[in-house]
């Protein structure tokens, strides 16, 4: 297929650690940046565009650019929480097309385990200057209960069950068993998921992602440079983004921003959901995956519960293999931000470098999607469509 390339992902690296007690955030940034450059066959001096989130310590990109000694002509610190890194790849492709940079480095790092965060649920960076603060924080708004309310309403509107949501975790766990670096490699059953303690109705403990340290990085570049390197060609052929929120009080929380970002990306790429061989779907919680499946068009609205049953997301068994690294539900959700690892596993699948037990045959078209922020109140969806050339 000869679709116009936006840009190519030529380097991808996932940090092997899941517990970074012995590393600083800056060291993690260096590890992932140099790891992705090595994977691409490029050098630090080649980088002229740097894309990072607020996880990079310092003022925007400045401290890490200094620490890594990057000589840059383009920077972008878009922050939509966990989906930032999908937007970064899209923005990098646009910057490359506009001639603003040639070789873009995108990083993510985090160490919530080392810092003792992520388990208590009450650590938030909300600021009273946020216009929403006084209408949400006094009521105990947390990540968990926003996703809980989304799942509850989906169940109410469409009859979705806890057992159906559990299938999403089961599928991720089937993949994670093959990943020696996965935070947990235990294969779960539907019964185990629905019998794990409820943390926030209707979500069980095993409906939630893992809390891990580490991170990852990707390198994005223009076609001439990509073709001069020795790596398989992973072409970005579509991208879309959509911040979604409360719309002045008139909203439907069971429709995520993926309904918009996916449509934009598919139209951009000139392909349809039926063409996709593999999908990396943001899996902060099982309900997050269910909404993306519907909103991206892999099934009709309300049919996500039936779609995920009976192993339909398991590689080699189902129609739509997802998160073959074990996803955020089992493998890695570094810094409580799962966007980067979604991109990396999609790149592995397109390259044919996923674990042989989960590699999708002839995986020439893949999708990666991120949902950053909180479903149910404010989030941004970012969609990428990747093609093997």
């Amino acid at each position: 297929m000869a679709r116009p390339a936006l840009a190519y992902i030529v380097g991808a690296y996932e940090h092997p650690t899941r517990d970074a007690g012995d590393k600083t955030m800056a060291e993690l940034q260096a590890d992932v940046a140099l790891g992705a450059l090595e994977d691409a066959g490029l050098n630090r001096e080649d980088v002229d565009g740097f894309f990072c989130g607020p996880d990079a310590p310092g003022t925007g990109p400045l401290s890490i650019a200094d620490y890594l000694n990057l000589n840059l002509r383009h920077v972008d610190t878009t922050n939509t929480s966990g989906s930032s890194y999908l937007l970064h790849v899209s923005h990098a492709a646009q910057a490359i097309q506009a001639g603003k940079c040639d070789i873009a480095l995108v990083t993510l790092t985090g160490r919530p385990r080392a810092e003792g965060r992520g388990k208590g649920g009450l650590v938030r960076a909300d600021n009273p200057q946020q216009p929403d603060y006084q209408w949400e924080q006094p009521f105990g708004m947390q990540i968990l209960n926003m996703y809980g309310m989304t799942a509850m309403r989906h169940m109410h509107l469409y009859g979705t069950t806890s057992e159906q949501l559990a299938w999403i975790k089961v599928a991720a766990s089937h993949h994670a068993q093959h990943n020696e670096r996965a935070f947990t490699r235990k294969v779960h059953t539907v019964e185990e998921v629905v019998n794990s303690p409820i943390v926030c109705d209707p979500l069980h403990r095993l409906d939630c992602c893992v809390v891990t340290d580490g991170g990852g990085a990707v390198i994005v570049t223009r076609p001439e440079i990509a073709k001069s390197l020795k790596r398989p060609l992973v072409k970005v052929i579509g991208s879309g983004e959509r911040p979604q929120h409360q719309q002045g009080g008139y909203f439907e929380i069971t429709t995520s921003g993926a309904a918009w970002s996916g449509k934009i990306a598919f139209e951009h790429a000139g392909v349809t959901p039926a063409d996709i061989k593999y999908a990396s779907l943001y899996d902060s919680f099982t309900i997050t995956v269910l909404l993306q499946l519907e909103d991206l068009g892999f099934c009709k609205k309300g049919e996500g519960g039936r779609f995920v049953m009976d192993g339909n997301l398991i590689s080699g068994i189902g129609k739509l293999p997802f998160n073959t690294d074990g996803g955020g539900l089992c493998n890695n959700h570094p810094g409580n931000r799962g966007g980067m690892t979604k991109i990396i596993e999609a790149v592995r699948q397109i390259r044919g470098e996923a674990h042989p037990a989960v590699q999708v045959k002839n995986c020439d078209l893949a999708l990666a999607n991120g949902i950053g922020g909180q479903l149910g109140v404010r989030h941004a969806s970012g969609t990428l469509i990747l093609e093997r050339e």
């Binding site: 929403d132 006094p138 109705d201 002045g248 009080g249 929380i253």
Partner: protein
């Protein structure tokens, strides 16, 4: 089980009237004179039509449960909810004085105000009638 502690709302000039009304048991909602619609949360501009010609109206206090989730692992557990007001918009709130196991989406609820340690009055909702005891 501990007593619930609330984060204080920190009113602003834009919202002080709401919190003053709450102290007197009134649920005030911002309504737009230009498009006729109420919005949530209250702003000095209409997020629906961009008009700045707004008024405070006293809501009936009636609403329906749009969704909810019981924060089981909090101490004490509490019921996070969205309630769709009779005036139109849906607001984030809590359900109180109810049996969490009996709540259903669509239940009719009515506002009541819960006082924080610093004396703010938070608009929360309880089921109407006795069916939820």
């Amino acid at each position: 089980m501990s007593e619930r502690k609330y984060i204080e709302p920190q009113p602003s000039a834009e919202t002080q009237a709401f919190w003053d009304g709450a102290k007197h048991g009134k649920l005030l909602v911002r309504s737009c004179r230009a498009c006729g619609k109420a919005h949530w949360y209250p702003r000095n501009h209409c997020p629906l039509c961009s008009s700045r010609d707004l008024q405070w109206i006293e809501a009936s206090g009636d609403g329906e449960v749009y969704s909810y989730s019981v924060m089981r692992r909090a101490d004490p557990p509490y019921v996070m909810a969205y309630v769709t007001l009779a005036e139109g918009p849906t607001m984030m709130t809590n359900l109180v004085d109810c049996n969490a196991d009996h709540i259903r989406i669509g239940d009719k609820v009515h506002v009541r105000f819960i006082e924080t340690a610093d004396g703010a009055h938070l608009p929360m909702f309880s089921p109407k009638g006795k069916h939820n005891d």
